[in-house]
Each structure stands twice: as structure tokens, then as C-alpha cells.
Symmetry: C2
Subunit: 444 residues, 2 copies
């Protein structure tokens, strides 16, 4: 394909579309072909298109193409994107590339890469528009027009003192509106009540602030408001998606991957799943021993056995529904710990309603089930179902609240985990209801 197209056409192709679209079109090419096409564009477009490639493709290009031209590209990348991609490289390649890029970019990378994954520092960029408080609106506009290519956003302009302490914020909107009085000083129009975050702050908390305040970007500051960088709206969207995926994994009893599914090796993945499967296995073992303890019941009334999965799955399912609802409501801020009584009362009501529904269906089946002696004996099934479903909704709602109260992540109360706990409770309820309705079996 490349052979057929002349260079000016390729160059045109690269600039005609939004860089994200160009990147999409090129996703099918090999690393060599991609690099050849990119050679026809100017440096700035090349960096932009490259930033939109998938992490796999970026890594492949960085590790296979000419180091010298690669290092120029790396030096030009946005600091946060650069830190993300460099961190995934082989140590040797990383060192070589770092040695080839200018000292300023190298220091910048080392500073950004010191913050652990999941913190504000790890997603911030160090390129933001800085202005002095003494500038007038006219001067500020001039300054921005001159430097804007360097910054990720110029819609929020940060006013700093000589030692990079954050004094205030002027939006591009204020600048445009302020054109009527171009000699006004920035210090007279800047906002000073700013929402900021610390570099070690959990990225989830940062997202909450930005989402609640509808911000375009949030400054990351150290002690005494010394400004380190900003996190922009597009990175916030990425973080929201990443956190949602992690929560979903945790709720499905998989430890967060930190990578995409296909990029995680089968061994790592097995470990992240296996640890939970083992914990759940021990719960299931307890259930096995609980059943063993009621051996006599089951030998005497064999028809109780087929209903075991029905009983435990009804409890497990209603419990995991409750856990899902409470975990998502907690993480979205729709409920707080102060609502605990209301939550538990609501779940009790739901347990009663849902339990009654299942009990009616269960009784209809039990009455006609082979081996069930009488209408009275069949009552064991509906009464158990009602109690188990109530136990499920209560456990499923109380456990996440307790975890939240202890300062742990409520999402760890995954559906399978809640179901595992209810299994044991369910068996104990079932066997005791059976004894209550059918009498103690003879000891053999």
C-alpha cells in the first residue's frame, strides 16, 4: 500500500483528519509501516498521532525503530503521556532513551514517575500555562498566543508567584470577556478560592472533586500551594473509566489488573483470580462441613437434598444484588454511612417482599416434588426461602457498610464473597427449619 502512494499524499492524509482518527486508520499497519508514514508529517502532527496509538503499538514502535529519531519524538510528547509509556518499557531501552532526551524532559519524567499508580501525581501533566499576577489582560493574551503550543490546555491559566506558589486562576473565558478593559491586572480578576489536590491524593477523590465542581482541570499542589502540575478533563474521563473497571473487577472477585485483559499474562491473571477462588473455596468447605453435621437429616429426608442449590442460590443472589446496589451507591456518593438505618430498613422490606415471592413459587414446587410427605412437610421450602432471602439482603447491605466504616474498599464485598457467606447461613437455616417442621431425625 505504501509503495503506491506518493509522499505528499501521505503527508496530507496525516494532517487532514483529527489525529485520533488518523491513528485509528493506521492501527492495522506494522510498526515499520507506521513509522514510514509518520516520516512524511511534521514533528508536531507526528507526536499527536503517536499519542493516540494503543499502548501496544507505541511500545512496539519505541522498541523497534531508530533510537535517535524516537528520542526526538519522546522529548516532544506531553509529559503525562510520556511518563505512561516510558514506565512500561524495558529498563535498558528506557535508560538509553532518557540519556538521549534533553535534561529538562529527563528530570520531568523522573519527577512524574515517582508517584505511584492511582495517585493524582501519576496522572498530572507538568505543562500548564503560568502567568505573573502583575500582567494585564492585554499582556496575558499576548503571552498566551505566543506560548500556547506548549500547553495541554490554555483554558485555565494559573497565576503563580516567583517561587511557583499558586495565587489564583484566570480562565480564557475571563480573558476574552475582559477585552473591554484590557489594562486590568490579572490579580484583580483572578479567582482565588480554588479547588486543588495533593500529588499523593487518591485519583478517585480527585475525580469526585472535578465531577462535583464541573471543572476543566484541577491544579496539583504541594505544601504552601507550590504548584506541581494539572490534571485535565480528558485524563479525568480516563480515570473514571479505569476506576469503574477496577470496581467491576473487584465486585466480580478479581483483583484489579492494572492492565488490559489481553496484556495481562495468563499466569498473572490466574493469580489475581486464584487468590479469591481460594478464599471462596474455604467458605464452601465450611458449607460442606455444615451439611455433614446435619447428615442424619439428609439421610432421613432425602428429598431435602435437591433443594440445597435452590436455597443457597436464592440467598446468594438476593445478597449479591443488595451488595451491588449498596457498593455502587456508596461509590457514587448517593448514600453515606449516616443513611445506614434507612438502608437496612429498606433492605429488610425488600427481603420480605422478594422472599415472599420466591416462597410462594417454592411452595408450589415443593408440594408436587417426588418424596415430599405432606403439605406440612413442604412448608420447609417456602419458610427457608423467606428467611434465607432476608438474611441475604441484610448481609449484602450490612457488609459493604461495615467495610466502608472500617475505611476499607466496600467493593471488596464482591458478589461471590457475599454469596459464599450466605451459603453457610443458608444451610444452617435450612436444616433448622427442617428439624422444626419435621422433628429431630433418629440418631443412627
Amino acid at each position: 500500500m505504501l509503495a503506491d502512494i506518493n509522499s505528499s499524499e501521505l503527508g496530507e492524509f496525516c494532517v487532514a483528519l483529527h489525529p485520533a482518527r488518523t491513528a485509528e486508520f493506521m492501527e492495522g499497519l506494522t510498526a515499520d509501516e507506521t513509522w514510514q508514514v509518520l516520516a512524511f508529517t511534521d514533528q508536531q502532527t507526528r507526536v499527536q498521532i503517536f499519542s493516540y496509538f494503543s499502548a501496544e503499538k507505541q511500545e512496539e514502535i519505541l522498541s523497534t525503530q531508530d533510537r535517535e529519531t524516537i528520542s526526538v519524538l519522546v522529548a516532544e510528547m506531553a509529559p503525562d503521556d510520556r511518563a505512561d509509556i516510558l514506565q512500561d518499557l524495558e529498563p535498558q531501552l528506557l535508560e538509553d532513551l532518557l540519556n538521549r532526551i534533553p535534561a529538562e524532559e529527563r528530570r520531568d519524567y523522573l519527577r512524574l514517575s515517582q508517584y505511584p499508580d492511582g495517585t493524582a501525581g501519576a496522572v498530572m501533566t507538568s505543562e500548564f500555562a503560568k502567568l505573573g499576577a502583575d500582567l494585564t489582560i492585554q499582556q496575558a493574551i499576548h503571552e498566551i498566543g505566543r506560548q500556547s503550543e506548549e500547553y495541554e490546555t490554555i483554558y485555565y491559566l494559573y497565576v503563580l508567584d516567583d517561587e511557583d506558589h499558586l495565587l489564583g486562576l484566570v480562565s480564557a473565558r475571563q480573558l476574552l470577556e475582559g477585552m473591554r478593559n484590557p489594562s486590568t491586572k490579572l490579580s484583580d480578576v483572578m479567582e482565588t478560592d480554588l479547588v486543588t489536590c495533593a500529588p499523593m491524593e487518591d485519583q478517585e477523590d480527585v475525580v469526585d472533586k472535578v465531577a462535583r465542581m464541573d471543572l476543566l482541570a484541577i491544579p496539583v499542589v504541594e505544601d504552601e500551594r507550590k504548584m506541581l502540575g494539572i490534571i485535565t478533563h480528558d485524563d479525568i474521563i480516563d480515570v473514571v473509566q479505569e476506576e469503574a473497571t477496577e470496581d467491576a473487577h473487584q465486585m466480580g472477585a478479581v483483583n484489579p489488573l492494572g492492565e488490559t485483559y489481553l496484556r495481562t499474562s495468563v499466569l498473572t491473571l490466574s493469580w489475581k483470580r486464584g487468590i479469591w477462588l481460594m478464599i471462596l473455596f474455604f467458605f464452601a468447605l465450611l458449607t460442606a462441613f455444615a451439611l455433614e453435621a446435619y447428615d442424619n437429616n439428609l439421610t432421613r429426608w432425602v428429598w431435602l437434598v435437591p433443594f440445597i442449590p435452590l436455597v443457597i442460590s436464592s440467598g446468594g443472589n438476593s445478597g449479591s444484588q443488595s451488595a451491588t446496589l449498596i457498593i455502587t451507591a456508596l461509590s457514587r456518593g448517593h448514600i453515606t454511612l449516616n443513611d445506614w438505618l434507612q438502608v437496612i430498613l429498606r433492605e429488610l422490606w425488600m427481603g420480605l417482599l422478594l422472599g415472599t415471592g420466591l416462597a410462594i413459587m417454592g411452595y408450589c414446587v415443593a408440594v408436587f416434588f417426588p418424596g415430599v410427605e405432606s403439605l406440612h412437610a413442604a412448608l420447609v421450602v417456602p419458610v427457608t426461602l423467606l428467611l434465607v432471602v432476608i438474611a441475604g439482603t441484610l448481609t449484602g447491605s450490612i457488609l459493604p457498610l461495615v467495610f466502608e466504616r472500617l475505611g476499607l474498599d466496600p467493593a471488596m464485598m464482591s458478589s461471590p464473597f457475599v454469596a459464599g457467606i450466605i451459603d453457610i447461613v443458608g444451610i444452617v437455616i435450612y436444616m433448622n427449619v427442617a428439624i422444626w417442621f419435621l422433628g429431630m431425625p433418629p440418631v443412627n
Copy 2:
């Protein structure tokens, strides 16, 4: 508290902070008190603070305070926020308020409210900055400075023809950079390769576009690019969070609520859960009948019974882990249908690894379990566990892929649903492995 503070202090309080923070501080006040405090601020600040109240508080204020002043506030709100809050009001109150606001705002509401929840039209706002293609950069800046208060964002300026067809986009960044050549026409600098969306497009697809392209806002256009409105970055974050919650609910076998947990009535919630509980109940019934069919096995080898929950929960748990991984990877775009073979092979490997792990633990327990006749008989447990876990990982990965292929939402393959299916498969495997190792039991 209100009595102690004089009016100028209250007015100051309202403007000193970001409106979102002021709104937070006032969340504890009653509707009457809130309205009294807001009376001390100017109209614009009042509208801003009001927009940040929770939906509950907004509704309470709208339904209890003086209709005439309320309608002034409603008329001034951002069109998309206004549509959201008005849709939740009592029909009578809504009609009364609509009659009191200016005709233009009324028409605007009726247009926005026609789009169903979950579409681009339902989240867009109709207030965006429009410019003619013939304007120069100088004129555009002047125009924006004059009108900017009306628009939600002035960072993207849309160039339209006389009949509102979208011709291009000029960013505020380009305007500021273009100050050097203030007489350039907008038509010479505007971007024309625009990413747009249709009003009936699924909001999830809109989010994907915005996230992939790192956009600040996306225009909503009808046929022939007639522009209806825009969706801004802050609404996109809200949509991402909302969709993540819906997916989590669906994966936990709860139909999406469309409201927060506490605002959904217990009856509605019971219905959204009950429908799934019933479906899962029927799966569990099938399991019961499957067990009944193997009645003879269980009477002959009673020690098989306590392992029933262990077998089905191991399959269910590994299956719901796989389903969680595949559903999230599909929704994030980390895998596509083309990866099906790779996904299935990986899951097969993981099933082998995880199944072997559980089998070893299971055998150790079975050997010492009361009633198990021999080391050979105890083999039933590990062999079953291995096969059931493999069945679990395969079912959990294949079902979401099939649903995606059929154009259905893969998130409907919830953990409990997958677990329900594996339960039946697990019982059948267990009983057949038992017959294989222990021989056919005598028919009684």
C-alpha cells in the same frame, strides 16, 4: 442561624466561594431557609448555586416556594439542567411553571425533553456559541466577549450558516493564537473535519468518541449537519459515571434504576430485582430436578451431598470472574469479537490452572472426609472440580461474546446468571464423574 447574620454577610457568603461549595454548605438547610439565603444574592449566582443542589433539594424548593420567583430562576437555568429537573416534577407543577417562563425557554424545554433517557439529545444543551463564517478573528473575539455569559462553554465556538448548518469549529485557543492576524476570517482557520453525534445516538457511544478524541464538547447534529446543541465535558463525566453504575447493576443482576438508590421506591426496586431473582430461581429449580434424577447416587453415597455447594460454587465463581473480565474488556474496547479465539484459549488455560489448584485442595479434604470409602473414591471431588472450573471459565467467557455478537448488551450476562447456568452443568458433571469412579448404584 439565619436570624443572627445580616444580609450583606449572607450575600458575601454566597459569592465568596465556588457555587458548588456554597451549595454543599447549604445542603443541611431546609427548603425555606435555603430560599431565604438565596434571596440575598444576585440572580446569576442564585441560578448557579441552585444548579449544584441535589435533585431532591431542587425538587423540594421548586414545589414549595413562590411560583413567580421560582419561574424566573427556572427560565435562567442552563437548558440541559432545566430539562433534567423539570422532567421529575409533578405534571401540574410542571405545566404551571412552563406557562410562567418565556416562550423561547418553554419551546427549548419541549424540544430537549422529547429525547428519551440515555440518548445524546437528552444530555445536550441548546446554548452554545454560534458565529458566522464571514467574521474575522477580531470580530469573533469582540462578539464572544459580549455574549459569553449566555453559553455553557466558549472554548469551542461553532461556525454555522444562516440555517444553522454546522460548517466548522474554532477553538478559543485558535482565537487567542490568532490575535497576531486579527483580520483573518474564521472560515480560513476553522476545523472542518468534526466529530459529531446524532440526537438519538446512545450516550455510551458519544462518551466513547469524546474519550477517544479528548474533546471538550461534541456537537449534536441532525440531517445535513443542522446543529441542535452540544454536550460538554462535565456532562460526559456524569454520563460515564452513570453508565458505569448501570453496568455494575446489570452485572449484579439488578435492572438499571434510572435514579439513585434512595430515590427509588422499595416496590420499584423489588421489581427490578425480582424479575432476575425469578429467572435465576427457575435455573435453580432445574438444578433441583437434575439432583432428583440422580437420587440413587446420593442415597448410596451420602458423602457426596456435602460437596454439592462446593462443586457448584467453584464453577459459579470462576465463571462469574470470567464473565466480569470479558464484559468489562468488551465495554472498554480492550477486546473485540475478532479476539474470540484468543479469549477462549486464554480462558481454557486459566480454567486448567485454577481448576488444578482447587482440585489439589479438594482432594486433600476429600481423603479425610467422613464416609469417603477410599483414596480412589475421593478422586471424584478433584476430577469434578477441575472439569467444573473449566466449564465455568468457558461458559463465563463465551456467553458475553455470544451476546455481543447478537447485538445484545453483554452486561446482561451477570455473575448470578452465569453462576445459575454453571450450577446445572456442575451437578451433571459431578454425578457423572461419581458414576464413572464409583460405578452405577443399584436401582431401588
